[in-house]
Amino acid sequence: MTQSIRDRADTIATFRWVSVHLMEMLARWVPSTPELEVKILFGRHIWEFAQHGDALGRRTAELRAPLHFSLAPAKTYAAVLEELAQVKGTAERVHGLYQAIMPDLEARYHRYLTDTNPLLDEPSVRIIDRILADLTRLRADAAETLGQRSDLLMADPKWLERLRTRALEVASFVALRSGSVAEVV
Protein backbone atom coordinates (compact mmCIF):
# COMPACT_ATOMS: atom_id res chain seq x y z
CA MET A 1 0.00 0.00 0.00
CA THR A 2 1.29 3.45 -0.89
CA GLN A 3 0.41 6.20 1.54
CA SER A 4 0.06 9.82 0.46
CA ILE A 5 2.83 12.24 1.42
CA ARG A 6 0.45 13.92 3.83
CA ASP A 7 -0.50 10.63 5.51
CA ARG A 8 3.15 9.69 5.89
CA ALA A 9 3.98 13.10 7.31
CA ASP A 10 1.13 12.73 9.80
CA THR A 11 2.28 9.30 10.90
CA ILE A 12 5.91 10.38 11.28
CA ALA A 13 4.70 13.47 13.17
CA THR A 14 2.68 11.25 15.50
CA PHE A 15 5.72 9.07 16.17
CA ARG A 16 7.58 12.29 16.91
CA TRP A 17 4.90 13.46 19.35
CA VAL A 18 5.11 10.12 21.16
CA SER A 19 8.94 10.27 21.28
CA VAL A 20 8.91 13.78 22.76
CA HIS A 21 6.17 12.75 25.19
CA LEU A 22 8.22 9.77 26.38
CA MET A 23 11.32 11.99 26.71
CA GLU A 24 9.33 14.39 28.91
CA MET A 25 7.74 11.58 30.89
CA LEU A 26 11.14 10.11 31.75
CA ALA A 27 12.40 13.61 32.63
CA ARG A 28 9.44 14.05 34.98
CA TRP A 29 10.07 10.66 36.57
CA VAL A 30 13.81 11.18 37.19
CA PRO A 31 13.57 13.47 40.27
CA SER A 32 10.61 11.59 41.73
CA THR A 33 12.07 8.08 41.43
CA PRO A 34 14.06 7.20 44.56
CA GLU A 35 15.94 4.10 43.35
CA LEU A 36 19.31 5.25 42.00
CA GLU A 37 19.71 2.47 39.40
CA VAL A 38 16.29 3.29 37.93
CA LYS A 39 16.95 7.03 38.05
CA ILE A 40 20.09 6.33 35.99
CA LEU A 41 18.15 4.14 33.54
CA PHE A 42 15.51 6.83 32.96
CA GLY A 43 18.15 9.56 32.70
CA ARG A 44 20.14 7.72 30.04
CA HIS A 45 17.03 7.05 27.97
CA ILE A 46 15.86 10.69 27.93
CA TRP A 47 18.55 11.31 25.31
CA GLU A 48 17.50 8.27 23.27
CA PHE A 49 13.93 9.51 22.87
CA ALA A 50 15.17 13.06 22.20
CA GLN A 51 17.25 11.72 19.29
CA HIS A 52 14.24 9.82 17.94
CA GLY A 53 12.14 12.98 18.13
CA ASP A 54 14.88 14.94 16.42
CA ALA A 55 15.33 12.51 13.51
CA LEU A 56 11.58 12.16 13.00
CA GLY A 57 11.13 15.94 13.22
CA ARG A 58 13.71 16.52 10.51
CA ARG A 59 11.97 13.95 8.34
CA THR A 60 8.59 15.72 8.63
CA ALA A 61 10.15 18.73 6.88
CA GLU A 62 11.13 16.47 4.00
CA LEU A 63 7.53 15.30 3.76
CA ARG A 64 6.21 18.82 3.12
CA ALA A 65 5.22 19.44 6.74
CA PRO A 66 6.97 21.93 9.06
CA LEU A 67 10.35 21.12 10.60
CA HIS A 68 9.79 19.25 13.88
CA PHE A 69 6.11 18.91 13.18
CA SER A 70 4.39 16.99 16.00
CA LEU A 71 0.89 15.61 15.79
CA ALA A 72 -0.93 14.51 18.93
CA PRO A 73 -2.15 10.91 18.65
CA ALA A 74 -5.75 9.75 18.82
CA LYS A 75 -7.29 10.65 22.17
CA THR A 76 -7.68 7.01 23.18
CA TYR A 77 -3.95 6.42 22.69
CA ALA A 78 -2.98 9.67 24.40
CA ALA A 79 -5.09 8.55 27.37
CA VAL A 80 -3.08 5.31 27.65
CA LEU A 81 0.18 7.29 27.66
CA GLU A 82 -1.26 9.68 30.23
CA GLU A 83 -2.24 6.82 32.51
CA LEU A 84 1.35 5.60 32.46
CA ALA A 85 2.74 9.12 32.96
CA GLN A 86 0.69 9.51 36.15
CA VAL A 87 1.94 6.27 37.71
CA LYS A 88 3.88 6.80 40.97
CA GLY A 89 5.32 3.35 41.71
CA THR A 90 8.83 2.66 40.38
CA ALA A 91 8.03 -0.94 39.40
CA GLU A 92 4.90 0.19 37.56
CA ARG A 93 6.89 2.88 35.74
CA VAL A 94 9.57 0.45 34.54
CA HIS A 95 7.25 -2.42 33.62
CA GLY A 96 4.63 -0.09 32.13
CA LEU A 97 7.05 1.69 29.82
CA TYR A 98 9.39 -1.11 28.80
CA GLN A 99 6.97 -4.07 28.81
CA ALA A 100 3.70 -2.48 27.66
CA ILE A 101 4.12 0.83 25.82
CA MET A 102 7.44 0.17 24.14
CA PRO A 103 6.48 -3.19 22.56
CA ASP A 104 3.26 -1.55 21.36
CA LEU A 105 5.27 1.31 19.84
CA GLU A 106 7.61 -1.16 18.15
CA ALA A 107 4.62 -2.93 16.61
CA ARG A 108 3.37 0.41 15.24
CA TYR A 109 6.78 1.17 13.71
CA HIS A 110 6.82 -2.30 12.11
CA ARG A 111 3.33 -1.68 10.73
CA TYR A 112 4.53 1.58 9.16
CA LEU A 113 7.43 -0.28 7.53
CA THR A 114 5.00 -2.84 6.14
CA ASP A 115 2.64 -0.18 4.79
CA THR A 116 5.10 2.24 3.22
CA ASN A 117 6.94 2.02 -0.11
CA PRO A 118 10.49 1.07 1.00
CA LEU A 119 12.16 2.81 -1.92
CA LEU A 120 10.01 5.89 -2.22
CA ASP A 121 10.08 6.40 1.56
CA GLU A 122 13.57 5.06 2.18
CA PRO A 123 14.70 7.95 4.46
CA SER A 124 11.80 7.21 6.84
CA VAL A 125 12.58 3.49 6.72
CA ARG A 126 16.22 4.10 7.68
CA ILE A 127 15.22 6.31 10.61
CA ILE A 128 12.71 3.75 11.86
CA ASP A 129 15.19 0.87 11.44
CA ARG A 130 17.58 2.74 13.74
CA ILE A 131 14.84 3.55 16.22
CA LEU A 132 13.77 -0.10 16.36
CA ALA A 133 17.35 -1.19 17.08
CA ASP A 134 17.49 1.44 19.83
CA LEU A 135 14.22 0.30 21.39
CA THR A 136 15.50 -3.27 21.57
CA ARG A 137 18.61 -2.02 23.37
CA LEU A 138 16.54 0.15 25.72
CA ARG A 139 14.38 -2.80 26.73
CA ALA A 140 17.54 -4.84 27.37
CA ASP A 141 18.84 -2.02 29.60
CA ALA A 142 15.59 -2.07 31.56
CA ALA A 143 15.74 -5.86 31.95
CA GLU A 144 19.27 -5.53 33.31
CA THR A 145 18.17 -2.86 35.78
CA LEU A 146 15.24 -4.98 36.93
CA GLY A 147 17.76 -7.80 37.41
CA GLN A 148 19.75 -5.54 39.75
CA ARG A 149 16.60 -4.49 41.61
CA SER A 150 14.61 -7.64 42.20
CA ASP A 151 12.92 -5.80 45.08
CA LEU A 152 10.88 -3.77 42.59
CA LEU A 153 7.49 -5.46 42.56
CA MET A 154 4.24 -4.16 41.14
CA ALA A 155 1.37 -3.70 43.60
CA ASP A 156 -1.09 -5.06 41.01
CA PRO A 157 0.56 -7.24 38.32
CA LYS A 158 -2.75 -7.34 36.39
CA TRP A 159 -2.44 -3.59 35.77
CA LEU A 160 0.34 -4.22 33.24
CA GLU A 161 -1.88 -6.53 31.20
CA ARG A 162 -4.69 -3.99 31.30
CA LEU A 163 -2.32 -1.27 30.05
CA ARG A 164 -1.12 -3.52 27.23
CA THR A 165 -4.68 -4.32 26.24
CA ARG A 166 -5.75 -0.67 26.26
CA ALA A 167 -2.85 0.24 23.96
CA LEU A 168 -3.53 -2.72 21.69
CA GLU A 169 -7.19 -1.72 21.35
CA VAL A 170 -6.18 1.52 19.59
CA ALA A 171 -5.92 0.24 16.02
CA SER A 172 -4.60 3.44 14.48
CA PHE A 173 -3.04 6.03 16.73
CA VAL A 174 -2.72 8.68 14.02
CA ALA A 175 -5.22 11.52 14.17
CA LEU A 176 -4.87 12.75 10.59
CA ARG A 177 -4.89 16.49 10.05
CA SER A 178 -8.21 17.86 8.94
CA GLY A 179 -6.77 21.31 8.33
CA SER A 180 -3.77 23.27 9.48
CA VAL A 181 -3.30 21.98 13.01
CA ALA A 182 0.46 21.72 13.05
CA GLU A 183 2.10 21.86 16.45
CA VAL A 184 5.81 22.48 16.27
CA VAL A 185 7.74 21.79 19.47
Partner: protein, 267 residues
Amino acid sequence: MTATAAPVKTVQGVTLRLDPAREPCFHVVHTDAEMADWPGMSDQSRRERLHRHMNNEAAALEIAAQCLVDFPEAPWDLRMQLARQSADEARHTSILLQRLCELGGRKGEFPVANFEWCVTLMVDNLPGRLALENRTFEAGLIDILGSLRTTWRAAGDATTADLLDGILADEITHVRFANRWIKRLTEEDPRILLRVAQAVHYLRAVNDALGPQPGDTNIVGTTFTQERTQAPAVYVEARLEAGFTQDEVLEVLRQAGFRSILPEELK
Protein backbone atom coordinates in the same frame (compact mmCIF):
# COMPACT_ATOMS: atom_id res chain seq x y z
CA MET B 1 12.33 33.68 42.48
CA THR B 2 10.03 30.69 42.08
CA ALA B 3 6.66 31.19 40.45
CA THR B 4 5.22 27.73 40.88
CA ALA B 5 3.68 26.07 43.89
CA ALA B 6 6.60 23.65 44.05
CA PRO B 7 7.27 22.09 47.46
CA VAL B 8 9.92 23.93 49.47
CA LYS B 9 11.90 23.55 52.69
CA THR B 10 13.45 26.10 55.05
CA VAL B 11 17.10 25.76 56.08
CA GLN B 12 18.41 28.26 58.64
CA GLY B 13 15.79 30.76 57.51
CA VAL B 14 16.47 30.28 53.79
CA THR B 15 13.68 28.93 51.57
CA LEU B 16 14.87 26.23 49.18
CA ARG B 17 13.24 23.70 46.85
CA LEU B 18 12.44 20.43 48.57
CA ASP B 19 14.95 17.64 47.89
CA PRO B 20 14.45 15.18 45.01
CA ALA B 21 13.55 11.57 45.87
CA ARG B 22 16.26 9.46 47.48
CA GLU B 23 16.20 5.87 48.69
CA PRO B 24 15.82 5.27 52.44
CA CYS B 25 19.48 4.12 52.61
CA PHE B 26 20.55 7.74 52.03
CA HIS B 27 20.80 10.19 54.93
CA VAL B 28 19.92 13.53 53.33
CA VAL B 29 21.40 16.60 55.04
CA HIS B 30 21.07 20.28 54.21
CA THR B 31 24.36 22.07 54.90
CA ASP B 32 28.10 21.50 54.39
CA ALA B 33 28.55 21.28 58.15
CA GLU B 34 26.42 18.12 58.21
CA MET B 35 28.57 16.37 55.59
CA ALA B 36 31.22 13.79 56.56
CA ASP B 37 34.12 15.44 54.75
CA TRP B 38 37.63 14.40 55.73
CA PRO B 39 40.87 16.00 54.55
CA GLY B 40 43.50 13.84 52.84
CA MET B 41 43.12 10.65 50.84
CA SER B 42 42.48 7.93 53.41
CA ASP B 43 40.36 4.99 52.19
CA GLN B 44 37.35 6.46 54.00
CA SER B 45 37.95 9.91 52.52
CA ARG B 46 38.25 8.46 49.00
CA ARG B 47 34.93 6.65 49.32
CA GLU B 48 33.26 9.76 50.71
CA ARG B 49 34.58 11.88 47.83
CA LEU B 50 33.18 9.41 45.29
CA HIS B 51 29.91 9.10 47.19
CA ARG B 52 29.43 12.89 47.33
CA HIS B 53 30.37 13.30 43.67
CA MET B 54 27.96 10.49 42.71
CA ASN B 55 25.07 12.23 44.46
CA ASN B 56 26.01 15.58 42.90
CA GLU B 57 25.94 13.99 39.44
CA ALA B 58 22.50 12.54 40.23
CA ALA B 59 21.36 16.06 41.21
CA ALA B 60 22.77 17.48 37.96
CA LEU B 61 20.78 14.82 36.08
CA GLU B 62 17.65 15.78 38.00
CA ILE B 63 18.12 19.50 37.30
CA ALA B 64 18.60 19.01 33.55
CA ALA B 65 15.61 16.65 33.42
CA GLN B 66 13.40 19.05 35.38
CA CYS B 67 14.34 21.86 32.97
CA LEU B 68 12.97 19.71 30.14
CA VAL B 69 9.72 19.38 32.08
CA ASP B 70 9.41 22.99 33.20
CA PHE B 71 10.32 24.70 29.90
CA PRO B 72 8.61 22.83 27.05
CA GLU B 73 8.56 26.06 25.03
CA ALA B 74 12.38 26.33 24.97
CA PRO B 75 14.02 26.02 21.52
CA TRP B 76 14.22 22.39 20.42
CA ASP B 77 18.00 22.53 19.95
CA LEU B 78 18.43 23.70 23.54
CA ARG B 79 16.12 20.92 24.75
CA MET B 80 18.30 18.45 22.85
CA GLN B 81 21.32 19.73 24.76
CA LEU B 82 19.49 19.32 28.07
CA ALA B 83 18.45 15.80 27.09
CA ARG B 84 22.05 14.96 26.25
CA GLN B 85 23.22 16.47 29.52
CA SER B 86 20.69 14.31 31.38
CA ALA B 87 22.15 11.19 29.80
CA ASP B 88 25.73 12.31 30.49
CA GLU B 89 25.00 13.00 34.17
CA ALA B 90 23.23 9.63 34.43
CA ARG B 91 26.34 7.91 33.01
CA HIS B 92 28.55 9.82 35.45
CA THR B 93 26.36 8.72 38.36
CA SER B 94 26.60 5.13 37.20
CA ILE B 95 30.38 5.30 36.72
CA LEU B 96 30.93 6.76 40.20
CA LEU B 97 28.57 4.25 41.84
CA GLN B 98 30.49 1.42 40.20
CA ARG B 99 33.86 2.84 41.29
CA LEU B 100 32.56 3.43 44.81
CA CYS B 101 31.54 -0.23 45.03
CA GLU B 102 34.91 -1.35 43.62
CA LEU B 103 36.60 0.53 46.46
CA GLY B 104 34.42 -1.25 49.03
CA GLY B 105 31.84 1.50 49.45
CA ARG B 106 28.06 1.44 49.14
CA LYS B 107 25.10 3.71 48.49
CA GLY B 108 24.14 5.57 51.64
CA GLU B 109 27.50 5.05 53.34
CA PHE B 110 27.81 8.80 53.96
CA PRO B 111 25.38 11.73 54.26
CA VAL B 112 24.36 13.48 51.02
CA ALA B 113 23.17 17.03 50.33
CA ASN B 114 21.26 18.21 47.26
CA PHE B 115 22.26 21.88 47.48
CA GLU B 116 22.50 22.44 43.71
CA TRP B 117 18.98 21.11 43.10
CA CYS B 118 17.51 22.94 46.09
CA VAL B 119 18.95 26.30 44.96
CA THR B 120 18.67 26.02 41.16
CA LEU B 121 15.06 24.82 41.21
CA MET B 122 14.04 28.00 43.08
CA VAL B 123 14.74 29.91 39.86
CA ASP B 124 11.69 30.11 37.61
CA ASN B 125 13.37 30.73 34.24
CA LEU B 126 15.67 28.66 32.06
CA PRO B 127 18.46 31.23 31.47
CA GLY B 128 18.69 31.72 35.25
CA ARG B 129 18.90 27.99 35.85
CA LEU B 130 21.57 27.59 33.16
CA ALA B 131 23.50 30.45 34.79
CA LEU B 132 23.45 28.67 38.16
CA GLU B 133 23.70 24.97 37.33
CA ASN B 134 25.86 24.97 34.20
CA ARG B 135 27.70 28.27 34.30
CA THR B 136 28.36 28.34 38.05
CA PHE B 137 28.12 24.86 39.65
CA GLU B 138 29.39 22.86 36.66
CA ALA B 139 32.05 25.46 35.84
CA GLY B 140 33.13 25.13 39.48
CA LEU B 141 33.26 21.36 38.98
CA ILE B 142 35.58 21.92 36.02
CA ASP B 143 37.96 23.73 38.37
CA ILE B 144 37.65 21.02 41.02
CA LEU B 145 38.17 18.16 38.55
CA GLY B 146 41.20 19.95 37.15
CA SER B 147 43.00 19.49 40.45
CA LEU B 148 41.26 16.29 41.64
CA ARG B 149 42.63 14.25 38.74
CA THR B 150 46.12 15.08 39.94
CA THR B 151 45.21 14.36 43.55
CA TRP B 152 43.89 10.85 42.77
CA ARG B 153 46.82 10.06 40.50
CA ALA B 154 49.30 11.22 43.14
CA ALA B 155 47.50 8.98 45.64
CA GLY B 156 48.18 5.99 43.34
CA ASP B 157 44.68 5.61 41.89
CA ALA B 158 45.07 6.14 38.14
CA THR B 159 41.75 4.37 37.46
CA THR B 160 39.69 6.98 39.29
CA ALA B 161 41.86 9.79 37.86
CA ASP B 162 41.09 8.56 34.33
CA LEU B 163 37.35 8.38 35.09
CA LEU B 164 37.39 11.96 36.36
CA ASP B 165 39.25 13.02 33.22
CA GLY B 166 36.43 11.57 31.10
CA ILE B 167 33.78 13.27 33.24
CA LEU B 168 35.64 16.58 32.93
CA ALA B 169 35.46 16.42 29.12
CA ASP B 170 31.67 16.02 29.32
CA GLU B 171 31.26 18.82 31.85
CA ILE B 172 33.12 21.22 29.57
CA THR B 173 30.50 20.59 26.87
CA HIS B 174 27.68 21.28 29.36
CA VAL B 175 29.17 24.61 30.39
CA ARG B 176 29.88 25.49 26.78
CA PHE B 177 26.32 24.95 25.54
CA ALA B 178 24.97 26.98 28.47
CA ASN B 179 27.36 29.83 27.73
CA ARG B 180 26.37 29.80 24.06
CA TRP B 181 22.63 29.70 24.79
CA ILE B 182 22.72 32.40 27.45
CA LYS B 183 24.61 34.61 25.01
CA ARG B 184 22.17 33.86 22.19
CA LEU B 185 19.07 34.33 24.35
CA THR B 186 20.31 37.62 25.79
CA GLU B 187 21.16 38.88 22.31
CA GLU B 188 17.58 38.12 21.28
CA ASP B 189 16.13 39.67 24.44
CA PRO B 190 18.47 41.79 26.61
CA ARG B 191 15.96 41.66 29.50
CA ILE B 192 17.05 38.04 30.02
CA LEU B 193 20.33 39.38 31.37
CA LEU B 194 18.39 40.76 34.33
CA ARG B 195 17.00 37.29 35.10
CA VAL B 196 20.50 35.84 34.94
CA ALA B 197 21.77 38.56 37.27
CA GLN B 198 18.87 37.92 39.69
CA ALA B 199 19.67 34.21 39.76
CA VAL B 200 23.35 34.84 40.45
CA HIS B 201 22.44 37.37 43.17
CA TYR B 202 20.10 34.82 44.74
CA LEU B 203 22.85 32.16 44.81
CA ARG B 204 25.25 34.62 46.42
CA ALA B 205 22.69 35.39 49.14
CA VAL B 206 22.11 31.68 49.81
CA ASN B 207 25.85 31.03 49.97
CA ASP B 208 26.28 33.91 52.41
CA ALA B 209 23.52 32.53 54.62
CA LEU B 210 24.38 28.82 54.54
CA GLY B 211 28.08 28.58 53.62
CA PRO B 212 30.49 27.51 56.36
CA GLN B 213 32.68 30.13 57.98
CA PRO B 214 36.39 29.64 58.68
CA GLY B 215 36.69 27.99 62.07
CA ASP B 216 33.41 26.04 61.83
CA THR B 217 33.64 22.26 62.00
CA ASN B 218 31.62 19.55 60.27
CA ILE B 219 30.06 16.46 61.87
CA VAL B 220 33.32 14.46 61.74
CA GLY B 221 35.30 17.28 63.32
CA THR B 222 37.01 18.63 60.21
CA THR B 223 37.61 22.36 60.54
CA PHE B 224 36.63 24.67 57.71
CA THR B 225 39.90 26.52 57.33
CA GLN B 226 40.25 29.66 55.21
CA GLU B 227 41.74 27.45 52.48
CA ARG B 228 38.84 24.94 52.57
CA THR B 229 36.17 27.64 52.28
CA GLN B 230 37.86 29.27 49.29
CA ALA B 231 37.01 28.47 45.68
CA PRO B 232 39.33 25.87 44.08
CA ALA B 233 42.12 26.87 41.71
CA VAL B 234 40.65 28.13 38.46
CA TYR B 235 41.23 25.71 35.56
CA VAL B 236 41.79 28.48 33.03
CA GLU B 237 42.35 26.32 29.93
CA ALA B 238 39.18 24.25 30.48
CA ARG B 239 37.07 27.33 31.24
CA LEU B 240 38.19 28.92 27.98
CA GLU B 241 37.37 25.66 26.21
CA ALA B 242 33.91 25.79 27.84
CA GLY B 243 33.16 29.12 26.21
CA PHE B 244 34.08 31.59 28.93
CA THR B 245 35.76 34.70 27.52
CA GLN B 246 39.20 35.72 28.69
CA ASP B 247 37.63 38.63 30.61
CA GLU B 248 35.21 36.30 32.37
CA VAL B 249 38.02 33.96 33.39
CA LEU B 250 39.99 36.92 34.72
CA GLU B 251 36.94 38.01 36.73
CA VAL B 252 36.67 34.53 38.26
CA LEU B 253 40.38 34.71 39.10
CA ARG B 254 39.88 38.10 40.74
CA GLN B 255 36.96 36.84 42.81
CA ALA B 256 38.92 33.73 43.79
CA GLY B 257 41.57 35.92 45.38
CA PHE B 258 44.15 35.88 42.61
CA ARG B 259 43.96 39.66 42.09
CA SER B 260 47.45 40.14 43.48
CA ILE B 261 49.10 38.00 40.82
CA LEU B 262 47.19 39.49 37.89
CA PRO B 263 48.96 41.98 35.63
CA GLU B 264 48.30 45.58 36.73
CA GLU B 265 46.20 46.44 33.67
CA LEU B 266 43.82 43.55 34.41
CA LYS B 267 43.19 44.27 38.11
